[in-house]
Amino acid sequence: MQFKSQAVAKPYFIAAIALFVGQILFGLIMGFQYVVGDFLFPEIPFNVARMVHTNLLIVWLLFGFMGAAYYLIPEEAETELFSPRLALITFWVFLAAGALTVVGYLAVPYATLAEATGNNMLATMGREFLEQPLPTKIGIVVVALVFLFNISMTVLKGRKTSISLVLLLGLWGLAVFFLFSFYNPSNLVLDKYFWWWTVHLWVEGVWELILGAMLAFVLIKITGVDREVIEKWLYVIIAMTLITGIIGTGHHYFWIGTPEYWQWFGSVFSALEPIPFFMMTVFAFNMVNRRRREHPNKAATLWALGTGVMAFLGAGVWGFLHTLAPVNFYTHGSQITAAHGHMAFYGAYVMVNLTMISYAMPMLRGRSANSPSAQVLEMWSFWLMTVSIVFITLFLTAAGILQIWLQRMGETPMSFMAAQDQIMLFYWLREAAGFVFLLGLVLYIWSFFKKGEVQTAA
């Protein structure tokens, strides 16, 4: 750690991991409800478990991004953070808002929550991923603005590097596109149309910039490759991401009532979306192969390489599988989507956060890397989580193919629930893989407490 104020990243990382645990627990509850429908009913109905699972995911990723920014920006700008106090205040505000929201989801029926939080004044609730009550949404905007103010001021007074500029662009984009969550036209097609401006332009647009910047930062640190080389790659990847990702929004507009030309726009541009992810994989491996130093933190290197591979597989390959309009005609909203969602979120955004935490946490605790035995444990957690997410994806893909076959093709298509009964086996297997994932996560957390001989950071 080169600057004292980088320490504010620590609570963000700890909160991120804590919420990650919550996300996985609710995932397991939900996965079990797939096979035993009335498990925990009426205390935690399926729709609530799902909402908590996805919302916790987003909130912990945001905590991770913010922590990463607070760690990365001072080091890139070569100056102390504009206001570490502001960063700590927003941390507690954001954590409290997130916790209250989850308590709200669990304690009262969603309709009651909506009524109590002013949804009748400005209706923004009830849409996937954007279920948060109005006060939470406003809170997110306020926290985001204070956060952006803090890091932008830091960059303005310090050194301006490509990495921090790309990160800032991504984070500002994140805040700007969130504003579409307040726009909720009563026409269902228009509602969905603009809903994607938040959801798609986040995960297939501005978040990729954040991902690229975080990965580039860690790669510079652990490989010692020239900044110029890494920055050039970063620019090319980002240009490709934006060319393909923005119009690629069209792949969500198939069969929902939008004009037909979206089938062409969506198919062509999103078919190219794997390219930036592939370039990211090549980038990560290339930089590690050209490394000029042997960084003691092997676990962080493994996470960085894993991010490249898994983001390409999950977002690139599994996305491409069902992105062409004629294919999507059958796969739209099936378990194929769930398979893609799991591997893409894990491979791209979960892993890049874990890469950053793996690199930065030891530094924040005053050493360049954890002890070898702790790193071995962490690498075990890497493989357990990664392999189990691969299996979850494969089981869900199998479930999806069978579901599509039974429910949407053939002479006598089955009803939705009848088809679900037929794919139960895959849901059981997925749940089992989910427990392996939890085990991996427990090992990950354990690795932080594992003692051993450590090198102190320079």
């Binding site: 050039k232 620019y235 090319v236 240009a239 490709m240 060319i243 393909t244 004009p259 037909e260 030309y261 062409w264 726009f265 198919s267 062509v268 541009f269 078919a271 190219l272 390219i275």
Partner: protein
């Protein structure tokens, strides 16, 4: 890289201009390539409709625009040649001429768009017009982007910001501009002529 010593016979390790622009150019080629191929296969499913709609296009303005872009591209070759001799002002003038021709291209294209839109044609009219409009509008925006890049280079050249030794930006802008020309060279016969 010392450009001044390079003769036409020497082999360069990388193409003229910043290497990053070349990755960008290849990405653009790929995106347009996919669109060109999609057009051809969509046509194969609906030959009569495509041929019928294609006949309503104005081949003359498409051909004139090809000549305009090719000439504009050639002017950029002259601009690069000028700066290689260290002639900043001459270079800036050639770039200005290239930008002016880009403006003529846009004007002709706007007349075409105006004709089509006032005839009530839109992206939803039929598959041919969907392709015609999206391909040409997509290309149109690339012409604008190219002109912006060239304008930035021209202003710096006019201020004497480049020399015979140091002029990567000029080549970068020229390379992008040639790509815009290159894409139109395929787009014009594909969409206006071949049936």
């Amino acid at each position: 890289m010392t450009i001044d010593t390079i003769t036409p016979d020497e082999i360069l390790a990388t193409p003229p201009g910043d290497l990053a622009i070349w990755f960008f150019i290849f990405a653009e080629l790929l995106a347009f390539g996919v669109f060109f191929v999609a057009y051809a296969f969509a046509r194969a499913h609906n030959v009569e409709l495509f041929d019928e709609s294609q006949r309503q296009l104005d081949i003359s303005s498409g051909a004139i625009n090809t000549l305009v872009l090719i000439t504009s591209s050639y002017f950029m070759v002259r601009a690069v040649a000028a700066i290689k001799q260290g002639l900043s002002r001459v270079c800036a003038r050639w770039i200005a001429a290239a930008i002016a021709l880009g403006g003529i291209f846009l004007a002709i294209k706007l007349v075409e768009f105006h004709d089509k839109f006032s005839a009530g044609i839109s992206l939803s009219t039929n598959t041919f017009y969907m392709f015609y409009l999206s391909l040409t509008i997509f290309h149109f925006m690339h012409v604008i982007l190219g002109m912006v890049i060239l304008a930035a280079v021209m202003l710096k050249a006019r201020r004497g910001g480049y020399s015979a030794q140091n002029h990567t930006d000029v080549e970068t802008g020229a390379s992008y501009w040639h790509m815009v020309d290159l894409l139109w060279i395929i787009l014009f016969p594909l969409v206006y002529v071949i049936h």
